[in-house]
Symmetry: C2
Subunit: 196 residues, 2 copies
């Protein structure tokens, strides 16, 4: 019962509410995309597979003449989800072009230009902070889940938790870069003074 990458988000979201493939994609793009993306090209085929395996159950529920299939999680699906969550192993992958540039920045002659590489990296993370702040603002003003019983359940704390992690993380990176830039500038000033 190994779950693939897409199955994990699908079962996760379906454990909260019944959704169509389209709905799932909306929620992914609004939340997990920052650390776990999923495209239509993965979602729709996987919904079929998961239904065949009996982890989810689909029901046709067209809106007028517009075809729509809403899926709900089954007991077997819940078991699979819980067993994945409770498994202590998990992968972490970081692919960071800014770090790669810093790593090779010795190839740049001018010290000011090398500092600029760090500053550019900081800027990328500032943008991420802004994006996440926008997400946070949206969450507090207009909750994405609008069903009344959903708002009533106040115990859905974990997504906010993860959002906080994202904000804290990107802010930390910005500060790290700024600290290192400052100490680099100080070191350089000393060298400059020595030469004068």
């Amino acid at each position: 019962m190994e779950l693939n990458s897409v199955a994990k988000v699908i079962l996760g979201f379906l454990s909260r509410e019944n959704l169509s493939g389209y709905d799932i994609k909306l929620r992914v793009d609004d939340s997990t995309r920052f650390f776990w993306a999923a495209s239509y090209g993965q979602i729709y085929p996987e919904l079929k597979r998961l239904e065949e395996e009996g982890l989810i159950q689909g029901t046709d529920s067209p809106h007028g003449g517009r075809a729509r299939r809403v899926y709900g999680i089954t007991d077997r699906g819940r078991t699979a989800l819980a067993s994945w969550i409770m498994d202590t192993g998990s992968t972490v992958e970081l692919r960071h072009e800014g770090l790669l540039k810093v790593f090779f920045a010795d190839a740049i002659d001018s010290p000011e230009d090398r500092v600029a590489v760090l500053e550019a990296m900081a800027q990328v993370h500032r943008v991420q902070v802004e994006e996440l702040e926008a997400v946070a603002a949206r969450k507090t003003s207009v909750p994405i889940e609008c069903a009344p019983e959903t708002i009533a359940e106040g115990d859905r704390r974990m997504p906010a938790f993860v959002l906080k992690f994202g904000l804290d993380f990107h802010r930390w990176v910005v500060e790290w870069c700024e600290r290192e830039i400052e100490s680099a500038l100080k070191a350089e000033a000393k060298v400059g003074a020595g030469h004068a």
Copy 2:
């Protein structure tokens, strides 16, 4: 002159020293793999392509009967590398299964089990810290680049910089998790006391 993902590491390493494909792979696995991996299946074809484009220049230099082709960066290659590094845009991708588990941990009934999910995430990052500490230890004791002229150049500071970032980052995540676990446990204790 858009560089693809593998071209970036190749040009970066060749800007320091002349290397074979095998050498490049060794260096990637020893350093950038934590944020920028590359496999033989990418490296060898790309070396050919970069030579055709004139960004690198290969020379056959067999060791005895063992075939070997060593590449050096050209002036055009240096220009391409510098222009990529100085470009302010860069991608950041994080794929974090632990965060995904935390995100969906509301599906787990027991509060203790939910805390365990956070603890497991912390553990993954502790392992990363250990791995990076091993890398750091290797660097200070036996520098990977052993050519004397290389050791003499003391101005290759950026790789150590990036290593420091990795260590600081993973330690920060561990502390973040521990802080949140503690505050979660305190909140729970209060609820428990209220019920009592």
